[in-house]
Amino acid sequence: METLSERILGASAGEYVDRAVDHAYVHDGTGVLTLEAWKSMGAKRIQDAAHLHVLFDHIVPANNSTTATLQHELREFARSSFLHFSDIGGGICHQIMSEGVVLPGEVVVGADSHSCTPGAFGAFATGVGATDMAAIWMTGETWFRVPESIGIHLSGALTGAAEAKDLALTYVSRLGMDGATYRALEFIGEGTAALPMDDRLTLCNLAVETGAKAGMFYADDVTVQYLKTAGHAVKPQEPEPCRYIQELDFDLPDIVPVIAVPPRVDTIKPVHDLAGLPLDQVFVGTCTNGRYADLARFARIVKGKKVAIRTIVVPASLAVLQEAIRTGVLTDIVEAGCTLGTPGCGPCLGAHMGVLGEGEVCLSTANRNFKNRMGVGGEIYLSSVATAAASALEGEISVPGVS
């Protein structure tokens, strides 16, 4: 009996396969290197543009003329070669691929480490580098070592102020930063049924922080319904009994709000233990927690109040932004004193807007708190949206209330 990775890749764990990809995507950062490598390979044409996506999200809009020139070249190439293209303001690549593009059973590669995110749809989705991507542009396929899988059993339901992000940080902490290197995570068990797609995307997004090649949910009724709204008729995937190299159990009612302390994603503490820690900035957004449900949760907590410190909110995509406008969520966020960013990665990668100054501390809903990542000498604590909202109102790390 097969794991989901084995089923999709069509071979047993440990085997090497060459596999055509259903979707391959790059962003404005990795796309530049991909284009350079593709040209260097002597390639004259794209293998199949219908499978290729160029999605600008990392530095949007461009912050200086060097970046603008690099983006210009990639934009022109994408258009002239008929690749799917999303310009500045369209949103984060992983989010766009998760808005009705990636379907169950597909093989998806992205030139970004968080390309494991759309595994939430029952796809095999993983990150590659720019040169691997250039070869995919040229040949339409790439090689994979079929990973062994770790079964993550979920039971019960999240309660109180705990969110999928708290569960994600908790499993990363349990596995460690390299606990799943070369392996795939499969989220299974009766506790998965109640998790909406947004939560599944958050859980799969953090898989790479354990070194995992992929994080996956089996497509079920929730997946089918979500994709139906996006115009796709898909079937659920039935899990089979299979051999996991390791199994972990999580009782969701036991999950509590936690924070990953710098500089490691796998070092967590209960929010309670850090309460009162002064903050300079709060950042809500990213491929981890910038979806509509996240913005709506944030708005519910800050509505009618004022944030005490600078708070940057960046919707994960244009669709998220539009939904937040339509429902009034955006009004609540702006009236609470938050600053809005262009849909995209925002300050997460520390390359343009919203970076930290020396000695500053940020509470972020993103997925990485590495040394100097958001600015030299700045420190990043990672939390859920509810913890970020409660903390923004107080100007210090604060325990979220039950909403």
Partner: protein, 156 residues
Amino acid sequence: MQGKGRAVCVGADIDTDLVIAGRYLRTKDHSIWVAHVFEDLDPSLASRMNGAVIVAGKNFGCGSSREQAAIAIREAGVVAVVAPSFARIFFRNAINVGLPLIECDLTCREGTGVSFDLAEGWVEAGGKKSVTRPLSPKMQEILAAGGLVNYWRTHG
């Protein structure tokens, strides 16, 4: 493929942000990456990279998929990186840009000579020879070609 160099010791879980920070990525000028390699880990490392074999702890190259990390290390003159394990995207990137990686748990002593033979599968440091985990045949082929660009120039 054979090689040798002097050991430069770094720790475990070195992420690619530490190899080359996000603030230096938006350029095609590789010399910028070479100049700032490992800056946020130890600013003195860049000047010691030429002819070095980096001997690291587990999970080298974790985090961001940025290929500039592997390019910066290779173009700084590093002969190979030895670690008990590598993050998988970095692993592919390094081979793709022609930077040899050796999976082996070595005790690192700064400045000692390290030599290796990828085909025979061993690494020697301080007079002690250790067996290494072999690269897949495909990866050996890519590395032997000098990276994936050259591989496809000849196979494409």
